[in-house]
Symmetry: C2
Subunit: 312 residues, 2 copies
DNA sequence: GAGACATCACAACTATCGGTTGTGTCGTTA
DNA sequence: TAACGACACAACCGATAGTTGTGATGTCTC
């Protein structure tokens, strides 16, 4: 056996917690000798001693102490792996557009509100892949902004407007608007808005195109997309560059950057994320998620908001 | 067998990657029949089909597709667990004071610079526990600010000043100093500095006591410490409250908080983190880490800095 | 459409493994 | 010093997981 025996790891953790092989044996419903054998086997496989055997039980060695958290990790990973396919009540497979973006934050909220629901977060390449995965049953739900002109959902795939995310302006400290608490979209006319990550043809591109058209803005998508960090670097050092970012997007930037999030008001542009699922999907947790996001529950409450005309 | 067989998981991943049981068998140096058996056993244990067998090989089912990333996670966790105790060249065990604080950031830098060095990050309760763990060999190194009056390191435990972290002021947007790029410590006289996390008797408490004494400041430590979030909440809403924070500390706050980091200058207070290790520890990676942090390499470069008198 | 060729599955066999029961060794405790 | 409690070792035995040999089934080529 090349690898590690998970039953031995489980036994090791039980023995470490109990402090005595006998108690671990009782807990696992095996004999003390079996525990001894399993631990000895694990020690042999790892090449280190994990316990020092005393007349009062078994104490962890230094290596055992170091191994213990990894052993727990391993068992947790096993639990998640099994849960991901457990027949009947497997984890709910939900696709999000990115783990740092608004939909992921809402999914975390849902997890906090319903910790009993196991969730398997995946990230597919684009909305087409997500819709296809829902149709085929690969995933149970997807957070996507699928409301764009020309898109028609396949039969059986349903969608609700799940939550609206306010769009904010992100600037460096030297930007002319950096000190403002809020600005109107109209005030951005003539400013340089840079969004190098936008891919033409996607929903977000369609959204920001519509936003730009509605208020006479110009959004630059020039230059290769190297991810968030170079963009944030550029913003931090520029007095004229800004970008749009969802208010629930988690950005992390170096401490010396001092970027500013500036709200947009009168009207407040909101980005409508939808929840997609298949009508025939019987997964019980799907109902819980839909109810949590129920229509209107997460609609944005600002007095005056803006969305593209095609969003119902 | 209650749990999952890691060899079966390994075989599953190999088969999924190869697309054919035969190739996976060749890679694992077993027969095709053994692969078939292992996969069948895993499928039986999980209660789901993972592959659809075709004449051209084996394709993942929906469940197999969902299980695959978890299977990889599981194998990665196994690798880390084994590495944590691998005799001779196990992972370097390093204690940091917290995973979001400056030392953890420096450790990430080190990991980027030396990706070949495996690191096992642990977090012990306090500096005494860290020193004890180094003395006994439980851990190989620790980032702590142990330079405080009255502390004497046990024989064999060595320390170098590893890196200096600049102290910044953190305020909400309504604070009277919020618009400043930098302030001097003297300008903070009379302002409310709140640090509910400080524990009397610790190094950081001694440091901030000394800082307050040196510049005539008052630091409040009243109120229970509920962690970072309530503190950040309080800062965001207050026009007079501020706190100190290391410039490499990663803070995450809600998007509507808009907190400001304000540099301190003339002089710039720096917090000296030390690296501790045991002179008898032969771990080769320890030398690499020490060389990376070598004396002076991470000393702060600002013209005028301040540290407590007891720091060499 | 038939045969060659690929795939994976099933069957029989066997060595090893992992559990049990019974016993031994060793340190602690009364 | 004897009783007790801890874990280890030994013998045994059924289950397991590998091997080789063969079968079933689908695909590709002519």
């Amino acid at each position: 056996m090349l690898g590690v025996d998970l039953d031995a790891v489980r036994t090791f953790v039980a023995a470490a917690d109990a402090g005595r092989f006998q108690d671990a044996a009782a807990e696992l419903s095996i004999t003390q000798q079996a525990v001894s054998k399993r631990v000895a086997g694990l020690e042999k496989a790892l090449g280190v001693r994990l316990f020092t055997r005393t007349a009062r039980g078994a104490e962890l060695t230094i290596d055992g102490l170091a191994f213990l958290p990894h052993a727990r990790d391993l068992l947790r990973a096993e639990g998640r792996a099994v849960a991901s396919v457990r027949p009947g009540r497997r984890a709910l497979r939900v696709d999000v557009i990115g783990r740092r973006l608004g939909p992921a934050a809402v999914l975390r909220d849902f997890h906090r509100a319903h910790p009993e629901v196991e969730i398997d977060v995946v990230t597919l390449v684009d909305a087409d892949a997500a819709v296809d995965a829902i149709r085929s049953g690969t995933i149970d739900a997807s957070f996507r902004a699928v409301t764009m002109p020309g898109r028609r959902l396949p039969d059986g795939v349903a969608a609700i407007r799940a939550f609206d995310e306010a769009v904010q302006l992100l600037t460096g400290p030297a930007h002319t608007l950096a000190a403002a608490r809020a600005v109107t979209p109209a005030e951005l006319v003539g400013h340089r808005i840079w969004m190098p990550g936008l891919v033409p043809g996607t929903e977000s591109a369609a959204y920001y195109d519509a936003l730009a058209a509605a208020f006479g803005l110009t959004i630059e998508i020039t230059g290769p997309d190297f991810g968030a960090e170079p963009l944030l670097d550029a913003l931090a050092g520029s007095g004229s560059l800004a970008t749009f970012v969802g208010d629930r997007t988690r950005l992390v930037w170096p401490a010396d950057h001092d970027l500013r999030r500036i709200a947009l008001r009168d009207p407040e542009p909101v980005y409508a994320h939808s929840l997609l699922w298949h009508r025939d999907n019987p997964h019980p947790a799907l109902t819980v998620l839909r109810d949590h996001l129920g229509p209107g529950r997460f609609a944005h409450s600002a007095a005056e908001t803006w969305t593209p005309a095609w969003v119902q």
